[in-house]
Subunit: 542 residues, 2 copies
């Protein structure tokens, strides 16, 4: 073998084999990274503020490096340019999005998952991960539907069925559910060989309808719009139904929309109920929706990506009453099951439902195999189910109950703080552990109740600007973080900009919540915001 | 605070905070798992053979444990029931699927990714991971399209565009590409507001066509069938074009299919070229397909999920000539970029192409933001781009070149071993690093060339059974592993069952390949297989 070829091979062996001595490069790198993360977690709360443009400068070359780089050198780069510039989503003061702290055991188990590098698409590359994933789905199915034990004995490991699918997140979960719904509506029927085979246009022709529609409240997650586009339904037919009090779907409006669709020869494909809206954390009246879906003879899906784990709580479970009547339910594991990013799930009441989207291939996913890939939207997938399994096993039902109860309690405390505070307005009551509010002094709130619609609009527009700046400056300061969104409230004609707080991190304390408001009041003292406030004169501001 | 509540809170703190002392539970668990993986990797080659049914017994309860479990106890469970029963996909003798060994630095970096738990859907939860992911896409885009530097300066971090998308795998990548293709074909046009808005049925009516079709060779990946179903096209209109020599698409047949579709008023939505077929590793004539797509005025997608990294090799890059004329290209990072499971990519020639699938939401993905989630099929996603970035940086172009060259060289060596062996028949020539073969003694091969079609069919059916048993027994023995599939060859009328070998693990040696064949010959001596062989009498078997 020529010298160069031998050297190349040796390089490869070095890269692909784990060094044997404990004080190896691997150990050193691993330690350096671990130390750094620990250091980072201790000293920063959000991220060191650098503008995105500054950060981009470190990631601006389009050329793949020609020569290899030392791992140690790369690690230094990562520490300086990536770790120091990422967002500390696990910080107790990061209460703006749905990413929270992770239980400590998730890290070594995630590492194990990576090291085993199983591919759960097929048993040949996943083995025990296949029954484990099926068990996870059965556990979640049981959490939602509470079927008797015999049901699960029959279906849990049945190759002809699946109680659901583990996937990368809620978007794929919702899309999978609506894909199943669509394909069941246009199932094979006489000469029509089904939509999977013949396509949507022929399906519509066969059923003699001009279109199909999805109905969800205006608080529905944006993934439903993507699904409507992807599945060929069209966003026009994602009907965003008005909400009633507390951001729940207005059943009257829902009925009217369905009547209108009927007049246009558009058939409701599915009603989608929400258990924990992304923006306000409210829960639709699931029982009433289930009744109406039954009346229509239409599919009923519940997007419980956020709120599903409320089922763990003896005190709050009733909020989700009716969820067991859904044909399918989405629950994200990387949200309130405290699993790292990249883990969603959908469960189906009928274990044969997924046959509507079943597919096979000669080299894998053969008929009768237990390969999980034969009924998932994704193909090759990692063994994330291990981390869900670990959470369910180690934290247990009671552990999750504590987490859920704590979050809801904390949201109520925060809501009370906001209500009591002279400078803030609560814009949505927390039903679960999410709430929205805005900077709007009580004096301005009083005026808003009295003035003309035009004056209301003018004041709200200024409050919107304040909200936007407030959120921006707070994010940049990096001490605490809330997000913002736009919301339609019944008491104002126009949409308003509000701050949004998600209270799922068990390390968040009431003191931190108080400090969020204090910091916001300090930010408001900035000249720029003061100038805006002056425009709301003559209402005195505290 | 009541005692119970305090105890609950303390439990939560224990679970969610990293213990400070180094000899902590975390360290112990981490070490136990690391040791165990190392031990597992050393002593087993595939997995300890237990039947799936036996393994299922350990994962049979549908009840979520009521009480928490100790981490140490759970770790013991995982070691015994999961680690010992998983498939050692990184073993050098595991040459049957596309999962291979991982460079050692992937483990600590994957751990870092998990610890930071960024969500790249939006900058607010990903910060530096956003520019990093954009850089990774620019690097892959440049690898494929080689546009001048100025192009990348303009587009790499441009919020109005995206050079592609990082996703969970090739299936999502292919689906994203075809979603873009579909939405561009039915773009807004006069009163028609586009398919995303109005749906597929109205789109077809607007264009005055009866359907749209995808054309790919019969070696196309099964994800294309899923995409055809999902996008409402229907599997009937996924046209699987016959292959010519060496499993490449037959251009004549492709032209004929297009003519036939035209007669039915079906418009070709996209031609899909394959760079590295899943089953045989062959590459379609991409230049010719690009010419034809141009002639048709139709979208051209290349599925280079497997073969894309061949572009790293100066010697073999030419096999993919024409790939730079594709509108989009899929490349999987968890295949030949040696990144852990869960990382795919699609790049688009036109950086504004993704605007066809763009979407927004009030609380994130606002217009003008750099949030990556505004044009991805998935929503929340982990920072897997870090691992791709690490591979490209640490291994470098030349490192990947060595890996590619080595795999192709090894496949040729294996092919030669098979050709020389009296008991095996090579059923597809390796063009890249995948080949297929079967147990079929040379004497039987000679007879097969002479006998009647009926006798051919009879013999092939018996050889199929042998192939099936051979693969099963080898997998169960757990020393080495090849996969199997069904293949249509020009020299036989019927599809045959073949063994499939993927040679991407740099730790696989020529000696291991020789031992794969030796083991197969030993397995054939089993009574069950001998009985089958006797039925191919009077052809003497060695």
């Amino acid at each position: 073998m020529p010298n160069k070829a031998r050297a190349n091979l040796e390089t490869l062996y070095r890269i692909f084999t784990v060094p044997e001595t404990p004080d190896s490069t691997l150990g050193a790198v691993d330690q350096a990274i671990t130390d750094n993360v620990a250091g980072f977690l201790q000293t920063h709360i959000v991220a060191i503020e650098q503008s995105l443009e500054q950060i981009e400068a470190g990631f601006s070359s389009c050329a793949i490096p020609e020569e290899p780089t030392y791992v140690s050198e790369y690690t230094e780069f990562v520490k300086a340019n990536l770790v120091a510039q990422s967002v500390h989503t696990a910080a107790p003061g990061f209460v703006g999005h749905m990413t929270s702290a992770l239980p400590y055991f998730m890290l070594p188990l995630a590492r194990l998952m990576t090291a085993l590098n199983q591919n759960v698409v097929k048993v040949e590359t996943s083995k025990a991960f296949t029954p484990m994933e099926r068990q996870v789905l059965a556990m979640i199915h049981h959490l939602v539907y509470r079927f008797p034990k015999e049901f699960y004995s029959e279906w849990i490991h049945n190759s002809q069925a699946a109680l659901g699918a583990v996937c990368s997140g809620g978007t794929i979960a919702n899309t999978t559910a609506l894909w199943v719904a669509r394909n069941r509506l246009f199932a094979p029927d006489g000469v029509f060989r089904g939509i999977a085979q013949e396509g949507l246009a022929r399906g519509l022709r066969h059923r003699g309808i001009d279109g199909i529609a999805l109905l969800v409240s205006e608080r529905g997650h944006y993934s439903l719009g993507k699904a409507a586009d992807l599945l060929g339904i069209g966003r026009d037919h994602l009907i965003k139904v008005k909400t009633a009090e507390n951001n729940r779907i207005n059943m009257q409006a829902l009925r009217e929309e369905c009547r209108r669709l009927q007049g246009e020869n558009i058939r409701p494909l599915a009603l989608v109920g929400i258990a924990g809206t992304t923006e306000t954390g409210n829960v639709d009246p699931l029982e009433e929706m289930a009744d109406f879906a039954e009346e229509l003879g239409c599919y009923f899906h519940v997007d419980a990506a956020w709120g599903g784990p409320t089922l763990f709580s003896d005190s709050h479970r009733r909020l989700l009453n009716g969820i067991d009547r859904a044909d399918s339910v989405t629950i994200d594991a990387h949200k309130q099951l405290y699993v790292p990013m990249g883990a969603g799930m959908v469960v189906f009441k009928d274990p044969t439902a997924v046959s509507a989207i079943e597919h096979h291939a000669a080299y894998i996913l053969r008929h009768g195999s237990k390969d999980l890939g034969s009924h998932t939207l994704e193909g090759s997938r990692p063994g994330m189910a291990l981390l869900i399994h670990a959470g369910l096993s180690i934290i247990g039902r009671k552990g999750y109950e504590i987490l859920i109860d704590l979050g809801i309690q904390r949201a109520r405390t925060f809501a009370e703080l906001i209500r009591q505070h002279p400078n803030f307005e609560l814009t949505s009551e927390p039903e679960l552990n999410i709430l929205t509010y805005r900077y709007c002094p009580k004096t301005v709130q009083q005026k808003l109740a009295e003035v003309s619609p035009e004056e209301k609009a003018r004041i709200n527009a200024i409050l919107d600007q304040i909200c936007l700046l407030l959120q921006k400056y707070q994010r940049e300061a990096g001490k605490t973080f809330v997000s913002r969104t736009r919301l339609q409230m019944s008491r104002y004609k126009e949409e308003i900009t509000v701050l949004r707080s998600v209270l799922a991190n068990p390390l968040t304390t009431d003191e931190i919540l108080a400090s969020v408001l204090t910091e916001q009041c300090e930010i408001v003292r900035k000249t720029e915001i003061q100038a805006l406030l002056a425009q709301i004169d003559p209402y005195p501001i505290q």
